[in-house]
Amino acid sequence: MLGIIRTIWMTFLHMFHRNETVQYPDVKPYLSPRYRGRIVLTRDPGGEERCVACNLCAAACPVDCISLQKGEREGRWYPEFFQINFSRCIFCGFCEEACPTYAIQLTPDFEMSEYVRQNLVYEKEDLLISGPGKVHDYSFYNVSGLKIPGKNKGEAENEAKPVDIHALMP
């Protein structure tokens, strides 16, 4: 009995508290940049696709909702297709953590409702944005040893010029 009266009293007191409800969608809530929402694929500072199709995000994904196929263009690895099934994604962010190139990033956007579930399957053209996302100046190929257009052997960070194998000097 006492409990019921106490509950009614507390509910009554709430009438004088500040309103917590936001009038979404008229008012948008603030989401920090590291919020884990819709996933994007970013580009490196040179404007090239960052993703090198290493498959690490797919391997890290606990619900296995990423699938891609490696392709190669003049030494650059890239995904021929990159599919995320958002109807499965739990926005855990493991993919972002696993990615060695900062290609895959989660963004503060959660407005992804669809009437048809099939539309929650995003292809590369839906994922790829034109900028570098949260990381501005990292380019994976500058630290890896592969030769790509515009970057020869020996031109990455901390690389010596290629060895002349006919030289005999120690």
Binding site: A59, S67, Q69, K70, F81, R88, G145, A156, N158
Partner: protein, 902 residues
Amino acid sequence: MAKIVIDGREVEARSDVNLLQACLEAGEDLPYFCWHPELGSVGACRQCAVKQYANAEDTRGRIVMACMTPVTEGAIISVEDPEAKEFRGEVVEWLMTNHPHDCPVCEEGGECHLQDMTVMTGHRERRYRFDKRTHNNQDLGPFVKHEMNRCIACYRCVRFYRDYAGGQDLGVFASHNNVYFGRHESGTLESPFSGNLIEVCPTGVFTDKPFSKMYSRKWDMRGAPSVCSNCATGCNTIINERAGKVRRTLNRYNDEVNRYFLCDRGRFGHGWVNAPTRLRSAGYVINGDMTPVPAQAALDHFGKIAASGRLVGIGSPRASLESNYALRKLVGAGNFSTGMAEPEHSLVKLAVSLLAAGPARIATMHEMEQADGALILGEDVSATSPRMSLALRQIKRTAFNKAADQARVPHWMDASVRTLGQDTISPLFVVSPTVTDLDGFAQDAIRAMPEDAARLGFAIAHRIDASAPDVAGLSEAEAASASRIAEGLLAAEKPLLVSGLQYASAALLQATANIASALAARGKTPLISFVLPEANSMGLALMGGLSLDEIAAQTADATLIVLENDLSRRLDGAQFEALVGSAASLVVLDHSVTPTAIRSQVTFPSAAYSETDGTLVSAEGRAQRFLQVVYPDAPLQAGWRWIADMAQAAGLSHVQPWARLDDLIAEIAATMPVFARIPEAAPAADYELEGTPLRSQTHRVSGRTAIRANISVRDIPPPSSPDTPLHSTMEGSYSTDMPGTLIPFYQVPGWNSEQSLNRFQQEIGGKMRGGDCGVRLIDAAGGSGTFSSGIPEAFRARAGQVMLLPEARVFGTDEMSMMAQPIADRAAPAVVRVGGTVAEGARVRLSLGGEIFTVDAVSDPSLPEGVATCPPHMVSRSWSVPEWVSLEITAPAERVGTESAV
């Protein structure tokens, strides 16, 4: 056996191995790079350091390289010792100083021995902040990719390529930190075993180029044990699949057969299963084009055709035993052909009967490697059975080992053994009409035409045992060679004899069998091997049937059913037309579009070796099961399932559908005594380990809910098949104790590369823990054998004519592998090699099977005048048997206007 103590644990170790092997066999995680189970130790990488103590009182111990230290009774070592661990940590850190940050874009990533060993030693932070040395790469041809930055200078590649496989064009350049492993300049690797570099190199320097074009991580692919179908040797493979496509072929260890290595035809010859030349639905041929029709309509159509007359069936030495049996049952044994034309048909039968009736055991490839005397009589094994030639190349090693035994150097001490063996004489003899790759490994390489090679063989038999018939009219040189080879073989404990069908000579087979009988009569235990043409030639010979020439008499007005066989490769134009034209209708069951399929009324698409389970019998007489890795979309199904459906459609009740492959296998075993043991070739589909079926995917396979989401977001149940013992998903058991025939991939915790194989073996280089692979169906009769006296006349050149011999090739003369792009790219264009001198740039005009061909001519001084060679199937589609032809040589000047017919 010796007792040794590893970190206080007393273990039994083999006394003829080194401490590294002993540690690995005892289940220790001891990192290594330069040691390889088949190549032995050189102590180059310093990674396998352990502490060894002089005795129980010694507390300081000293660091030794485990791979260079023999096991001794009572040895006390420590892998866990902090100093040894620190040493190993430093070594890997040095090795990594120049290693690029490449793992995400490296094909080796995820199955990299360097990754595994780096993790194993605990090196996780790079302190080196200076410049890394870099290298330019080379284009090494269609098979192998080169990324030299990743090299850790373990020297395994050159030790395999040069020392083990005898290749010349891969070497070491430059010095110290700069050492470079490659060719003197970009260019295709010449060795037909170059693909093994991919598995031998512990890093991502050498990777699989065709695989890279359709790359997938190891953890993402389904695996299945398979058997190579590109020749009759029967090497064991693992095939990998992702998203319905076969991605690559890897070696699967079989201690008696291919062990650690494959040839490039086997490794890169699978691409045809994904090619656009595949048949994917039933079809009618309309105006020369294959037009798809629903399977049921095609079956109904077949029912109508079949109702109107007799059925005649042509089987195939490239199809499984099961499908051939089903066809034989459908049409009746009297209407069944082995699918082989003469003389191949009779020769394969002869080879099998000589093997079964003779005193010599059929040699496994492992036995060949250890033979202490060998004769290859009239066969270019390096082209007809490449992996076997790699085994034969190791024969020189038996001489090395003898020298090593005298110097009391253990056999695994590779560099020392090779130095000691430098001056030894290899106990291998080669007799062949043409130069072969094995000549350089032989004590004696004798050039002789097939007839003369056979005569030499008969003469050798006579010199070994006088009751064998002698050969009259030998030249002095021939007689001397015969005596020398006879002595060489008699000096051996287990002499090995190899011949084959390349030159379609029965006399060669008989001469070889005579030598075996003669050796047996002299108390030796000879080993023998005949190279057969195709993956299931042996199986078809055991099954029996008519030759194509015989069946041609029965096809008139019959419905002719051809199983996975392209008759246009076996019959020349006129014969082909006669056979196909006389039949009332032609029904073809095949996995690819062939010229034969294009002539059919109805075609049914059969599953390729990657899409169904089946049994093949190798030239060794070993029945082996290949397992499906792809679950194909309907209507693709195994040949025998189509045949059962066809029987239903035609209302033929004597063939009832088999519910499972195992039912069919049981029926074959019960009805054909020679196949009684084929159920033992692999466990049945209901096989379980620890209460569950085995899995075919790794635990970390990714993209399960996304991989077909572009088609439908809805999940569908995983595919399954009643025929195969492997579960299609990651669910099921997997252990190092599973049967060798069911291993889908090699991986144990901490060991993600194929080096984890050592955990699956009872001892390194020994039997698999889960048991043998395959089962021998035939073997020597024992006793002393009989002698044949079918000695041929000596070869005599004919005026105005040229003897055209088939020049078998590793790449180019095999049917299915040529439908794989990398092999087609690797195959050199067909040329006719002409004995004597021919002007450069000349061409020859010749008539084969009624057709005229004009081909580039090359002069080959190793051939006698009046003899030429031509690659079979590459010039004329059907020609493959030696033949007298008239060659018209056009000088280069006259070339204008002649167009190639190739």
